[in-house]
């Protein structure tokens, strides 16, 4: 156990990547778990929920532990259901560390020209050599580096979310920042582009139509606010999503219309 204020040893040589919207509760790092004599060490993505000084230590430990466990279980459930998510590499519930497979790719938000999110901007440009992308039009980056059209990207998004909801996993924070494109590198087959869903920190399990509709609504709002004129694009997401989830789509669609009228929160009156 580390004493209050000091970080676990594994983070000493790790590269701090960014602090997103959840900066108050966690930090993310790129790190190496070990050094091997024969093979090249591959990096991992570390998510560290640090000690909260304002909480009672016992409560802090049990909250961190249950959040780590919850996120890890949800990711495993997604993996087993064929949703593309980063694989788990390390779970240290007592220190509050989750280690994921390193995904070398770009967020859909960047590729659609939404820019970086807040303070991530500075951090990203340090880590990625291709930080001159802002000069190009976003479509050309998507098409030159990943060789897919925006329409194809939208159908990949719809398909992944459909698979996830079929497994009754609700992401809870669907935005284009939490989706990444990367090239798969399989031993024998030719490389292909894959859409990966990341950050299951707010995810939970539910089979309710309401929760799935709200999940979609959150994404729709994210699309509209960060990518202007994205309505025809989002229509493709929904179309492919509908085909994926099958017969449940009719009721989710109807509920999504309701949610659009009232917003994410259900009315607490009456």
């Amino acid at each position: 156990m580390t004493t209050a204020g000091s970080s676990p040893a594994i983070l000493t040589d790790a590269t701090h990547i960014s602090q997103g919207a959840e900066a108050a509760s966690l930090k993310v790092y790129k790190a190496l778990l070990h050094q091997s004599s024969n093979s090249e060490s591959t990096p991992v993505f570390l998510k560290y929920r640090f000690n909260k000084q304002y909480r009672h230590p016992t409560l802090d430990t049990s909250l961190t532990r249950s959040r780590i466990a919850g996120e890890a279980r949800t990711v495993l459930k997604c993996l087993r259901s064929g949703v593309h998510v980063p694989g788990l590499r390390l779970v240290d519930a007592s220190e509050g560390i989750l280690g994921f497979e390193w995904i070398e790719g770009k967020s859909v938000r960047m590729l659609l020209g939404g820019g970086a999110e807040g303070e991530e901007e500075i951090e990203y440009s340090e880590n990625l050599p291709e930080d001159e992308i802002s000069d190009e039009t976003p479509e050309s980056e998507l098409e030159s580096a990943y060789r897919i059209t925006p329409d194809a990207l939208m159908s990949m998004i719809g398909s992944e979310i459909g698979k996830m909801h079929l497994a009754d996993v609700i992401h809870g924070d669907l935005t284009t920042s939490n989706m990444m494109l990367h090239w798969t590198s399989s031993a024998n087959s030719s490389p292909s582009v894959e859409l990966v869903l990341v950050d299951f920190g707010l995810a939970y399990t539910s089979s309710l139509v309401e929760d799935k509709a709200v999940d979609l609504y959150v994404l729709e709002r994210a699309f509209n606010s960060t990518h202007p004129d994205s309505e025809p694009l989002f229509a493709i997401v929904l179309e492919v999503y509908g085909k994926r989830v099958g017969k449940e789509w009719t009721s989710i669609k109807r509920r999504l219309d309701d949610v659009r009228l009232r917003g994410r929160k259900r009315s607490m009156v009456g």
């Binding site: 156990m1 676990p8 040893a9 594994i10 000493t12 040589d13 778990l33 070990h34 050094q35 091997s36 004599s37 024969n38 093979s39 532990r65 780590i68 466990a69 890890a72 279980r73 990711v75 495993l76 993996l79 087993r80 259901s81 064929g82 694989g87 788990l88 590499r89 390390l90 779970v91 240290d92 519930a93 007592s94 280690g99 497979e101 698979k163 079929l166 497994a167 399989s186 031993a187 024998n188 087959s189």
Partner: protein, 200 residues
């Protein structure tokens, strides 16, 4: 033999020595030797236990080097934090590999069995340990091969059965493409090992 260093752990847990042997001929006698060593009285017992102080893993249930490295990491982590669920860091490796919580089942499935013709030998210790490869060679008679051979020894049907993967959507989606299916299984299995400490 591959040596992996863990600079962030205490000295006595800072190295993992991993070697893969094929054409193993003495798996049966090795197994009875291990069982015997557990009941031998000191000092002969201590000496014999030190000679056999390794984790012996059946590579047929291992999908990749990453799979075994992840189990080793979680075992070292548990040892460093004093939260071992089994008696030694080496048996903890076997426990981490098995999807269930039953220790004897883990050892029966993932440990050395009479029919093993290949063996993965693991030692977790300090960097000062000398002649590890020779020590391994003195208890296992077989041919030392690189860890990259691991994928070729895998019994995929058994892995899928033990991890209850046959009905999973991910496996069904990848059916028909053997390489892809193996990649998917490997990813799930590695993640299951990593998550072991918080499952259940």
């Amino acid at each position: 033999m591959e040596v992996i260093s863990y600079p962030y752990f205490p000295a006595h847990l800072s190295r993992a020595y991993i070697a893969l042997y094929t054409s193993v001929t003495d798996a049966g006698s090795l197994r009875s030797r291990i069982i015997n060593a557990a009941t031998l009285a000191s000092p002969e017992g201590d000496q014999e236990r030190e000679l056999l102080n390794f984790a012996f893993v059946d590579p047929r249930l291992i999908t990749s080097a990453l799979h075994v490295e992840t189990a080793v990491y979680q075992a070292i982590l548990a040892a460093a934090q004093g939260s071992l669920r089994t008696k030694t860091v080496h048996s903890e490796v076997l426990w981490a590999l098995n999807p269930g919580n039953n220790i004897s089942e883990a050892i029966r499935r993932y440990g050395v069995s009479d029919g093993c013709t290949s063996l993965l030998v693991i030692r977790i210790d300090s960097s000062e340990l000398q002649d590890v490869e020779a020590k391994m060679g003195s208890v296992v008679s077989g041919q030392l091969v690189p860890l990259t051979q691991l994928g070729t020894l895998t019994d995929w049907a058994a892995v899928k059965k033990y991890h209850k993967l046959n009905q999973e959507a991910a496996i069904k989606a990848a059916s028909g493409d053997i390489q892809k299916e193996h990649d998917v299984v490997d990813n799930i299995v590695v993640s299951s090992v990593a998550i072991k400490s918080v499952m259940g």
